[in-house]
Symmetry: C2
DNA sequence: AAAATACTTAAGGCATCGCTTGACAATTGG
DNA sequence: CCAATTGTCAAGCGATGCCTTAAGTATTTT
């Protein structure tokens, strides 16, 4: 029972899939175009695309016999925001520690 | 042969490890404190911490018999920046498409 | 209609992951 | 010193992940 954030991070954890995202960030592409430069079979790339699609990072639609894939920037933002929130939280906790240490130093004077 | 970005994203892909990061974002904690609320054995939590540490997201140091863990916000930024760069790239490519479509519409007038 | 293109599905192999239990330090408090 | 606390190491097991090949299906192209 994995949520979207799990899936997104897990998807980005694989170098092949990050390469795919990187390629798609430059613009939409077909499955063959994506698979072309990669050192693996086309079915393998399809599986990666499936993972990316289930994570919400990538959207695809089929017209005729070619499936065109594109990035969904919303899903990217979701992951980005999660990290950002935690980083900010951590920085605030550091600030509180600094303030506490300053207080202590003042008291000791 | 995984690089730091792979490890970081893979680490964040696991719900337990994101819970750990979430907890640590509020401030440092010992291994037992981290394991306490979690529905698994302490060795299991240790393994998760090892993954987080190898990914660079978490730093720990041992004093006496207690190991204190804290977040390294730099590693968080690394992942955040990667996503941000791709999202921006994608948005730029959308802008170019819009511009192109506008041009085309003008030509057809 | 036959051939080529572009994917899709299925079956299977091997590695890694997440977790468990059990045994084993190392440190500290009574 | 003895015992409790806190963490570490190791073996192992079932599930998942990544990839392969082989055999489809659907859609153009010739």
């Amino acid at each position: 029972m994995l949520n979207q954030l799990d899936r997104a991070f897990q998807a980005l954890g694989d170098p092949t899939r990050r390469t795919l995202v990187e390629r798609l960030a430059a613009g939409p592409a077909s499955v063959s175009e994506l698979a072309g430069p990669l050192p693996m079979s086309l079915p393998a790339v399809m599986l990666h695309l499936k993972v990316l699609e289930e994570s919400g990072l990538v959207i695809s639609e089929k017209k005729g016999r070619v499936r065109t894939c594109r990035i969904d920037p919303n899903a990217l933002s979701l992951a980005e925001n999660w990290i950002n929130a935690r980083r900010r939280m951590w920085e605030r906790s550091l600030d509180r520690l600094d303030a506490f240490l300053d207080e202590t130093a003042k008291d000791e004077r």
